[in-house]
Symmetry: C2
Subunit: 499 residues, 2 copies
């Protein structure tokens, strides 16, 4: 076991318990960990830390930096035990979210492609300890990451000390799925030599300075991956609308017949949209994306995928079993890259990625909110959506036209928080239809979005607002004193519907 997992004999001396490893973590430290989605994050050490703190009533506060979201053993445990003081750059955990929205955790939302360079440029606090999950340490003391790459190479480089968790639930066969290539700091950067989604440009391991390693911990706790909502009538409709639109664009000569690489966002909606491709005529699909969810594996299974490049595999528990069982086959179709490469503007614009992301709400001007409900309650964060939307060949946003049992219109006069401005949104699709915003003025956009995307029960409300706003004739027909009224009525009457 140990022999299989740690080939570097000298390093075996660093093996210790999670409890011992956790002792290195002190009050006030900045801890950075591997993990991107609930995949490939350290589990045993944070569990040991939170257990000890719970038992001893210790007061330890840390800043936690990860690639993106991580599992409950890390984000949940630390939040519930008031250990996390600051959280950067993204999360999806119920307890962590609650603590952020309670004011107990300070959250800093960052474009995921920028985070590694913020660390490299020393923009954030120095990383006292990095904790990274590996499936294996090679003969030369290099580590093989697991189900995500994220910022692991950056952590290994910049952290003062390192704890490595060897996770034996992660198959040794993962070796070879990763492609590790990182960027030097300017002025030393050169072109990133990816010309095609399938290009491998780096190594399949991460080099480590062995002197930094203070502990190696064994664990077999599995990735806490989550089941996503099944495709439903609305998401199937959105998928159909999108596929029809694709057809139309190809016929019009605006998208090449052989298609271009797709990026597919995170969450249930994105997963469902992708599911729609299984029923389409399209095959030889290429993905230059961030997260590989269930639908992507399904598309691989039915032979529709040429290559899926991302930074994390994050299927459901069953999807993960399926992946583990047939890892060699999947490996020929999947590449996991550091997030500074998977989300890199240079590559996204070069390859001409068609970006498909999900909105929490959109406004009639074409702005998108991806992250904060009612302007201030964090859902997850902007994640990589900005990396893709701004640099895409075509930027598409999906959202159901209503939320919470139709009490909320996701098409509003003005979004309560802006993550993506009108300049970054080409197409909006709801189950009601599609608004093609390319080349339109604010007034034209407003009309198109209300007519095509809003739910019929909210059309009057939006049209009345627009009619009134149009009277001002401004470039952007906006009424600052009425723009947020729908949120006020939601707060007062539990619905945006007019009384």
């Amino acid at each position: 076991m140990i022999e299989d997992r740690i080939k570097d004999i000298e390093l075996r001396k660093k093996i210790t318990t999670a409890e011992n490893a956790a002792l290195f973590i002190k009050n006030g430290m900045t801890i950075a960990t591997s993990g991107f989605t609930p995949s490939g994050y350290p589990k045993a050490t944070p569990l040991a830390l939170s257990k000890r703190i719970k038992n001893n009533n210790e007061n330890i506060k840390i800043t936690l930096i990860t690639g993106a979201s991580v599992g409950d053993e890390l984000d949940g445990e630390l939040a519930r035990n008031n250990i996390t003081k600051k959280r950067i750059p993204y999360q999806t955990n119920d307890s962590c979210r609650k603590a952020i929205n309670n004011g107990d955790i300070q959250f800093c939302d960052v474009h995921l492609s920028l985070l590694p360079q913020y660390i490299n440029y020393n923009y954030l606090e120095d990383i006292d300890i990095g904790i990274v999950e590996a499936s294996e340490i090679t003969e030369n003391g290099c580590m093989i990451p697991t189900t995500s790459v994220g910022i692991t190479p950056t952590i290994v480089k910049k952290a003062k000390k390192l704890i490595i968790e060897i996770n034996t639930s992660q198959p040794i066969d993962l070796r070879g799925i990763h492609d590790i290539y990182t960027l030097p700091n300017p002025p030393k950067r050169t072109p990133i030599p990816i010309l095609n989604c399938k290009d491998r440009i780096g190594t399949n391991y991460i080099q480590i300075d062995k002197n930094k390693i203070i502990a190696i911990v064994f664990t077999d706790i599995r990735d806490d991956v989550k089941k996503l909502a099944e495709p439903n009538k609305d998401s199937n409709l959105m998928a159909e609308i999108f596929l029809e639109f694709l057809d139309h664009e190809i016929k019009a000569g605006r998208i090449p017949r052989k298609l271009l690489p797709f990026q597919s966002g995170v969450g249930s909606v994105s997963n469902s949209i992708l599911n729609g491709f299984s029923r389409s005529k399209y095959d030889k699909l290429q993905f230059y994306s961030e997260v590989i969810q269930d639908s992507m594996l399904d598309l691989i299974d039915i032979g529709k995928v040429q290559i899926a490049s991302g930074t994390a595999i994050s299927p459901s528990p069953e999807g993960l079993n399926k992946f583990y069982d047939d890892i060699k086959r999947y490996k020929s179709k999947i590449i996991l890259r550091p997030q500074e490469i998977s989300n890199n503007p240079e590559i996204i614009r070069r390859l001409g990625v068609i970006a498909m992301n999900t909105a929490i709400e959109v406004d009639i001007y074409g702005n998108v909110n991806s992250s904060n409900i009612m302007g201030g309650n964090l859902m997850n964060g902007i994640g990589g959506s900005g990396d893709f939307a701004r640099n895409a060949y075509l930027s598409v946003f999906f959202t159901k036209s209503t939320a919470k049992n139709e009490t909320i219109s996701t098409v509003v006069p003005l979004v309560s928080h802006v993550d993506h401005t009108e300049h970054d949104v080409n197409i909006i699709i709801t189950e009601q239809g599609i608004a093609d915003l390319r080349g339109l003025s604010p007034k034209e956009r407003a009309i198109s979005i209300i007519n095509n995307c809003a739910n019929p029960i909210y059309k009057d409300l939006l049209s009345d607002y627009l009619k009134e706003a149009m009277k001002s004739k401004k470039n952007i027909p906006i009424l600052l004193n009425r723009a947020f009224k729908c949120f006020e009525s939601l707060e007062k009457t539990d619905t945006m519907k007019r009384g």
Copy 2:
């Protein structure tokens, strides 16, 4: 004269009057022209067109696409004569702005790096006629652009027909200042081989399909460049704050001692900030920027500039004289590239450009409004600020803390229009001080911006708002029903000051 300016003998047959050339422009057409800032745009043909329309009471409506803003002979004349129906992607002209804010012109605001690809991808209306200014047509029928490149190569490629204005006020010596390199459509793109601001990667001419040329017009109307406001106490203070910050960052190891390339935004404020460099210890400055304004020429004069790469030269009238008088010297320091290259995310992120842009207003969360006063009255447009801010090594925004005789606080609870989200803004500088937002949560940002950047006369107003908003404890301390109150009081009482 003709011999000097049109070396291709065959093409001399196409010479005609501006009046004749203007006859080609018909109602409903989409016209794209050269020009970026009031530099290098066609002048004689639009003047002839508007004159005819004024005299004959004709009804001609067109869509006008340019690289960015253009001079009054084009944007002003066409707007005043109700010729422009739609305007893409940026403008700075009083008459045009008025027509947009009156609802007479539909304006579509686009990131400037994206415009050429929108045209190439056929996202916008087909270009019926392209009108481009040249200093010269070479032996092989290639054109030499003048004081800007912008989208000229794209127009020449995509327009169905072309009118060329040979402007004899533009020196023949401009030849050699341009570096023309354009991007094919995906999937055919390869890395752009710029590793250094000074790298020339293309040709100094633009290839033309001669069959498209329907008219060649001679003119000697000069670029309608404008004088910018002189540096004043406030802008000098901002420059000092920025230079001190640079020092500090270098000492902290966050910016290399030899600096990195700078981008300097458009307008008076940016020009004044740049002016500050003349008093600094820094030399061998490199610019990977968009527009070359007066201060950049001054910095070249005093030997502080290694290279200034941009897409347009747009100094004051005196600055332009100076440039023309000594063009050979300036040419060794200046490169003009197509805007798809000057503003390209790939290069901006590779080189590590330090982006310096100007805000109309900022909010306490770190969002920036660059374009629309009171949420809807267009000033100019987003321009290239988004190309630079999102991809920069460091994204800095400048604004005076008040506008219009202190009746307006440019630091507001919530910007009335978002061009740059909190994710794209690292540093905010006003004459009051500097807010360093890196790694901060929304609450921390709010405190820092109010404390460091707001004008003392508006601090209470902002602090009171924040105090109340903090009670909700949300991730982002926002009060949707109070966020825009300052704009309401401005409208009612002509000041944001409390009664």
